[in-house]
């Protein structure tokens, strides 16, 4: 047993940490959010040059990582900086279906994704789908030229407005929530019948509502087998959940440090507020929960590539459920221990708190993953 990072991953972690400490801050983040695309192409390019996108992908697509621990290392660092660039959308959720199940031609396009010059997004969720993993009402029907015609609505697609290609899930058979009968397609941004409405998010990122009105794609745009999309989505989603949990671990580390510092320096009633036992004990309880969340994230990372599907999925849902609980606790306690100052936009901490709580709204919330964990245990 070894809980230490390998030398390469430690270097990756150090590289990312150094960039974020030296080159990234919340002013830069806000400017990126306020720009047309909701993130900075310049920052994205720099992070790509440092290898942070490539670290998310396996060697067979010219990445140099791609296992769970790589994802965890990169996203913990991104969380510390509250980075808004589209790592989750393009580097994980968009890329994973391709490197897991794509054709050689599709895989060859990931080199551009690793270089940062090409953006992907996963358009899977739907307006009535909430967190249901196989709710797909969007239909794909055979068109005359042996291609496919896609019609439907996709909801809250992370960075869907700027993606060069969308990975779209569509139903080729079965009922709306069936696991069988979902097929994945790569849809280019300029396809006829594709509409995208961009909207900012409360935590400073960008999503899009996507409409597909008879979008035509050739059969070569299909990822994997016809009707076999659910298993690909499950594995890609597992990677996405791990990324979110690791991001949350990074965020909580920053909030922990900032709040501890505040307890030591803020004086009321003639002493540092950290001298009050009630705050000491609450902080300790928070430390315990953060360690629990970090541990669950490490377990999910270690099982990501084990080939043990049930073990992996249980660990993934356990981590996300725990993160929903711990994330809320940490967000609320850190604001409360700071008091009014943490309610202000100028202060960094509430921006971390907002992101931390909104992670619960991505790829399944606390309750969704509790139900799922239970169901997996009964399977």
């Amino acid at each position: 047993m070894d809980f230490n990072l390998s030398e390469e991953r430690q270097m990756l972690a150090d590289t990312a940490a150094r960039f974020i400490a030296d080159r990234y801050d919340l002013k830069k983040r806000q400017a990126a959010f306020d720009s047309d695309e909701g993130f900075s192409r310049e920052t994205w390019g720099e992070l790509a040059d440092l290898g942070l996108i490539g670290a998310l992908m396996p060697p067979e697509v010219e990445g140099f990582g791609g296992v769970g621990e790589d994802i965890a290392v990169v996203f913990e660092a991104l969380g510390k900086g509250l980075v808004v660039e589209p790592f989750l959308a393009s580097g994980v959720l968009g890329a994973a279906p391709i490197y897991l199940a794509g054709s050689d031609e599709q895989k060859s396009q990931l080199a551009e994704v690793i270089a940062g010059s090409r953006l992907l997004a996963l358009a899977h969720g739907e307006p009535a789908g909430r967190y249901h993993p196989t709710h797909v009402a969007t239909r794909a029907e055979r068109s005359a030229d042996d291609g496919w015609s896609l019609t439907g609505q996709k909801a809250v697609v992370f960075n869907g407005d700027t993606a060069d290609s969308l990975i779209v899930s569509a139903r080729t058979s079965g009922n709306v929530t069936d696991a069988d009968g979902i097929t994945l397609f790569v849809v280019p941004k300029n396809a006829d019948g594709l509409s995208r409405r961009a909207v900012g998010t409360v935590d400073g990122s960008r999503v899009a509502e996507v409409g597909l009105a008879g979008v035509q794609v050739p059969d070569s745009a299909r990822i994997g087998e016809v009707g076999g999309g659910a298993a690909i989505l499950e594995e890609a989603t597992a990677r996405g959940v791990l990324a979110l949990c690791a991001e949350a671990v990074g965020i909580m580390g920053v909030m922990h440090d900032a709040t501890l510092d505040y307890l030591k320096t803020r004086k009321q009633f003639g002493r540092a507020i950290g001298a009050f036992q009630v705050l000491q004990h609450r902080f300790v309880d928070m430390v315990i929960e953060i360690e629990q969340a970090r541990s669950a994230t490490m377990l999910a990372a270690s099982l990501m590539d084990s080939g043990d599907r049930l073990g992996r999925e249980r660990a993934v849902s356990a981590a996300k459920n725990l993160m929903g609980r711990v994330g809320r606790l940490v967000a609320e306690e850190c604001i409360q221990m700071h008091g009014g100052i943490a309610m202000t936009w100028e202060f960094d901490l509430p921006h971390y708190a907002k992101r931390l709580v909104m992670i619960d709204h991505q790829l399944g919330d606390e309750d969704y993953h509790l139900n799922r964990f239970t169901a997996l245990g009964q399977a």
Binding site: T177, V207, F269, T344, W345, A353, D367
Partner: protein
């Protein structure tokens, strides 16, 4: 024991309900229910309606133009206003300063300021907290130095809610720097149009501007603006805080929030059914509903005791703590309820005249903002930690 309203109270409730239905403009309640930003004129429009019925200063004794209601009547009125979607009564003049002037102000203060409060001639702000004096309010450092017929005031106040609308501010200032913390504080009324007063906006974590900093630099304040005795301001402030705590449990807001939550849960798809049928979510809603049912009775018990002349002391701290926990829990469930659609957020959507098609279910974008904004409930008006210390000391003798 009878926990239902008496015949008189029921008649009173029906009268209040019918009057509000008749007089609260639909456009205004619509703004409130949709969480739109309220302008100064929106608040004043509702004040003007209430004024016609003599219900604006309902906290006050009748001889000053108040309604002279029992605590239970006050509670009923607040519930009906919230349920109907009325804007809150801006509390600073009518609910906070008014009672202090009635109790401690000079005849001149009462004759001058009370009618002006009733008529909305002045918009008052509260100048209590300072950057270094939050939970420990008595450590405030804004100085008022006597100079002939004036005080010269310098310092900085913060968290001044709606201070950007205000022309007057009641403040706590230090008049005796050598006295023990609570004993050198005075209660002073400051004309915010005076030279040396500067209001700076504070943008909160949800991007909104509701609170402000107020910088005071050598502001000349006439000595007649001192309320009561010099160095006795802490006593008046404590009295005011008991008024601030009327309705502190926020039961009416919690009930409204819970109704809203249930409606969303019934209409929200969870992918293959309705969210309200999800056992985990249903249990979350039931748990908070049980808390609220009990809180409703707890609150009425304290109100009834107050009606019998017992001054609510530390009980109001208990109500504040549990009431804010329940309200915060409801905002948490509301943001959960809308699922992925909690994330999209368009700040312009809360302005008048915005009519773009909503993203996701109607109103979904309100809930994450509201969840974050309502973190303030357990911080302001004496944080929940301070309330617990009050209970431990005053009620339990610890």
């Amino acid at each position: 024991m009878d926990l239902t309203l008496s015949a008189e109270e029921t008649a009173f409730r029906d009268d209040v309900r019918a009057w509000i239905k008749d007089r609260l403009p639909a456009w205004l309640s619509d703004k409130v229910k949709r969480g739109k930003r309220l302008t100064k004129d929106d608040y004043l429009a509702w004040h003007a309606e209430l004024r016609t019925r003599g219900w604006l200063a309902w906290h006050w004794p009748t001889e000053y133009g108040g309604a002279g209601w029992t605590p239970v009547q006050k509670h009923i009125f607040e519930e009906e206003c919230v349920a109907a979607g009325a804007p809150r009564i801006v509390p600073f003049g009518v609910n906070m300063l008014g009672p202090v002037l009635i109790a401690f102000g000079s005849d001149e203060h009462k004759a001058h300021y009370l009618p002006r409060i009733l008529n909305d001639d002045d918009w008052w702000a509260q100048g209590y907290s300072e950057p270094g004096a939050g939970s420990d309010l008595a450590s405030l450092r804004t100085r008022a130095v006597r100079d002939g017929d004036h005080y010269i005031v310098s310092g900085q106040k913060t968290w001044t809610t709606l201070g950007h609308h205000a022309n007057m501010m009641f403040t706590l200032v230090r008049t005796d720097p050598d006295a023990k913390a609570q004993e050198g504080i005075s209660f002073l009324l400051i004309d915010m149009t005076s030279p040396g007063v500067e209001v700076r906006p504070i943008v909160t974590l949800d991007g909104e501007h509701e609170v402000n900093e107020v910088w005071l630099t050598d502001v000349k304040v006439p000595v007649e603006n001192l309320v009561g005795e010099e160095n006795k301001g802490w006593t008046y402030a404590k009295y005011l805080l008991t008024y601030e705590r009327t309705g502190i449990a926020g039961v009416a807001y919690a009930k409204q929030g819970l109704d809203h939550l249930k409606a969303i849960a019934r209409s929200q798809s969870d992918g293959d059914g309705v969210l309200a049928d999800d056992p985990l979510f249903a249990a979350r809603m039931s748990r908070v509903e049980i808390d609220l049912m009990a809180m409703d009775v707890f609150n009425l018990r304290v109100l009834a005791a107050a009606g019998e002349g017992k001054v609510p002391g530390a009980e109001s701290s208990l109500l504040k703590i549990k009431g804010t926990i329940i309200r915060q829990e409801i905002t948490d469930l509301l943001r959960r309820a809308v699922g992925p659609y909690a994330m999209p957020f368009t700040p312009d959507a809360f302005d008048d005249g915005y009519n773009e098609e909503p993203i996701g279910p109607d109103g979904a974008m309100l809930h994450a903002r509201s969840y974050f904004n309502h973190r303030k409930l357990s911080i302001y008006g004496g944080s929940n930690e301070i309330q617990r210390s009050i209970v431990a000391k005053q009620m339990l003798g610890l």
